[in-house]
Symmetry: C2
Subunit: 410 residues, 2 copies
């Protein structure tokens, strides 16, 4: 299952001309301190190593990416389009949609400040969902722009240093009780109605949003978009357009999320490098759940797993140990021709060998028996038998493996 | 490069009918304490998590495998043929052939006590090397049997509890100074000459070794084998045949190593499960070095990386922003047909766009210009130009991408 996610992620990223990079799992805790602006999450998997260094099992990849890009960006033409599929860690009790160890697909475009980069990134996120077999009936992309809120805050006279706390409340519009929200908003001199009115008025969308929408409509992805100013993303470092992918019923956590972070590289590099950037991440837990709960996506995965998963194509049956040497030689030749082959590793009854062939879902059983060098081949699904000379076995098998078994005889 | 290793490892393991499994990166330190028989390596990446638990970033995968197999083996038919490609950690200064974070390819066959399993495993290790393009001139498999040493020790009257220390000296035969070795062996009442004579006498090989050799010869892999009793593997838990793969000049650390460990599952499960087992691991560092230093293996990797690596197949050139919408639509169609496509994300001069096309090693530049819906296509290697109607572009491209460009005109 993990491989299905990885292959799909990788395939889509490559279609978009993205380059895969690697970053370490262990980072100095200071990196996350810088990135978060001084506040560390209690979910951080942080510890002191034997050398007395304060290190952290990365909770996400963007900090490492920013560190690497800040150090190495000079050698690459811009924009950078980079992706990584990597393991991340969260210190908390495992629960549905979350695990202590998880994988994240990260895509980032760096060095392009215009809305074309945001649109390219959102298009890539949408095509990732399409590649899993999802349709417009299954998911939507909720897009927002933090700059719209900055303008709102300016009009309402919210001070800059209170902005993060205010956006924290906006982030909770869907989840927090209205009374609680109203009370907290009062602290900013604002009513819940004012905020909700702002969210629900499409005219508050920024010009940038309109340009991104037009771009994505040209690509044929307009149907997936929903302007939703209540999306602000929890993290402090986003600077512009942000987005989340949700299941159509919005019954789960976000499947993916991201946005523009034009100042992070500057912060991580202590002011040495300025590079506009936008990126998103998709974890493996929520997408797994959504695939499993969506019939056509689940079926598509099943077919892939059957083709790429456990088991083998050919099982070599050895009725008499005297033929083991010949069987080993033929099995090796079949494997070297690219076929997946299993065989009994010690003496076993023939019936047991056929059971093993069934259990590993082999399509053919090759019997190296008394008639050798004549080899009998049993097509396990149709229970029909054919035969060929040992010297022709590889050729026979390569031809047959690419053909269907044909209709079963009644 | 990592992906090249992973894909090669995975391909060979599947040909052998092995099933991929996943195990966690973080384990309770107690697991490694059990496995090592109470002695913990100073290279262990060990720490206390926020919940006060003593945890370790896994140094290798076998302990986790043994834990999982002990718990779940009942549900699977035997033998189990399992593999994992996973990240491991070592607490030490990075040096050539070693890194703090590294990947390991692990293959294990469990539930089969006979030499057929050892031979199958060694064959898989050899075919992994062949898949990287190595030949018999590049590497060899040094095979030994701990039981030969047990017999030797019995004859020489070495007590059982001193066996581990004695094998530790045998392990150092190639690396330690003769004077130092001789002095230490004297403590066991033995001379260096006695030990070296035992190592160099092929008659000391066990019957098991002979059976494995015959099996591998039947497969056509006899040339890769070298009986070498000086190989005993450092770890305490090996119980029978052990082996290492080395570069032909033996100038590097072992590329891979493994062997039989028939008692480990019993130890890890506190006596609940008994399951004979044999396995090997190949790290990513030494194999990387060996590939890079071996011309034909390095070239094979280069070709793979060119085909699967960075860059894109098609670059869409947009001479005038008025055509961006059409360009986006066509780029999306090409991507959805499986092609790797890049395009400028904001306005750029045409010359700069062609530079970008070269930099991402595109094969075709598709120009969405004044003549649209007529589309010009430039074959970048031959600098020839063709054209087609926008509605035919995907079909044109799919046909052309599978053909070579043809000879360049002088």
């Amino acid at each position: 299952m993990r491989n299905y996610l990885f292959e799909t992620w990788r395939t889509v990223a490559r279609r978009y001309g993205c380059v895969e990079y690697e970053s370490p799992i262990l980072e100095d805790t200071g990196l996350y301190l810088k990135k978060s602006g001084g506040e560390l999450s209690s979910q951080l998997f942080r510890f002191e190593d034997q050398g007395g260094r304060d290190v952290t099992l990365r909770p996400e990849v963007t900090a490492s990416l920013a560190r690497i890009v800040a150090a190495e960006q000079r050698q690459y033409p811009k924009p950078l389009k980079w992706f990584e599929i990597g393991q991340c860690f969260r210190y908390e009790k495992p629960q549905k949609g979350r695990g202590r160890e998880f994988y994240q697909f990260n895509v980032d475009i760096l060095g392009e400040a215009g809305p074309g980069a945001d649109a390219e990134l959102i298009a890539l996120a949408i095509e990732t969902m399409l590649a899993f077999g999802f349709t417009a009936a299954d998911f939507l992309v909720r897009v927002s722009d933090r700059n719209a809120w900055l303008k709102f805050a300016e009009e309402k006279g919210i001070e800059a240093e209170k902005m993060a706390a205010f956006l924290g409340l906006v982030d909770k519009l869907e989840r927090e009780k209205p009374e609680v929200l109203a009370e907290k908003l009062a602290g900013f001199g604002m009513t819940l109605e004012e905020v909700e009115a702002f969210v629900s008025n499409p005219e508050n969308a920024s010009d940038t949003y309109d340009l991104i929408r037009a771009d994505l409509e040209a690509r044929g992805f307009g149907d997936f978009l929903e302007l939703d100013l209540s999306i602000v993303r929890g993290l402090a470092y986003y600077t512009g357009v942000v987005f989340e992918i949700h299941d159509a019923r919005k019954s789960m956590r976000a499947v993916a999320g991201g946005g523009r972070y034009d100042t992070l590289i500057n912060i991580i590099s202590d002011g040495a490098v300025d590079l506009p950037a936008t990126g998103f991440a998709m974890g493996d837990y929520v997408i797994r759940n959504l695939i499993e709960e969506t019939t056509h996506a689940a079926m598509q995965m099943e077919v892939w797993l059957q083709r790429n998963g456990a088991g083998c194509e050919v099982y070599v049956v050895i009725p008499d140990e005297v033929r083991r040497g010949d069987a080993l030689r033929l099995a090796t030749r079949l494997r070297q021709a690219g076929l997946s082959v299993d065989l009994p590793l010690s003496h076993a009854k023939v019936a047991k060998q056929f059971q093993a062939a069934e259990k590993c879902r082999a399509r053919f059983a090759v019997i190296i028996g008394e008639e050798y060098p004549l080899v009998k081949i049993k097509v396990l699904a149709s229970r029909t038998e054919e035969s060929c000379d040992a010297s022709m076995l590889v050729e026979w098998m390569l031809r047959r493996i690419s053909e269907p078994d044909g209709p079963l005889l009644a």
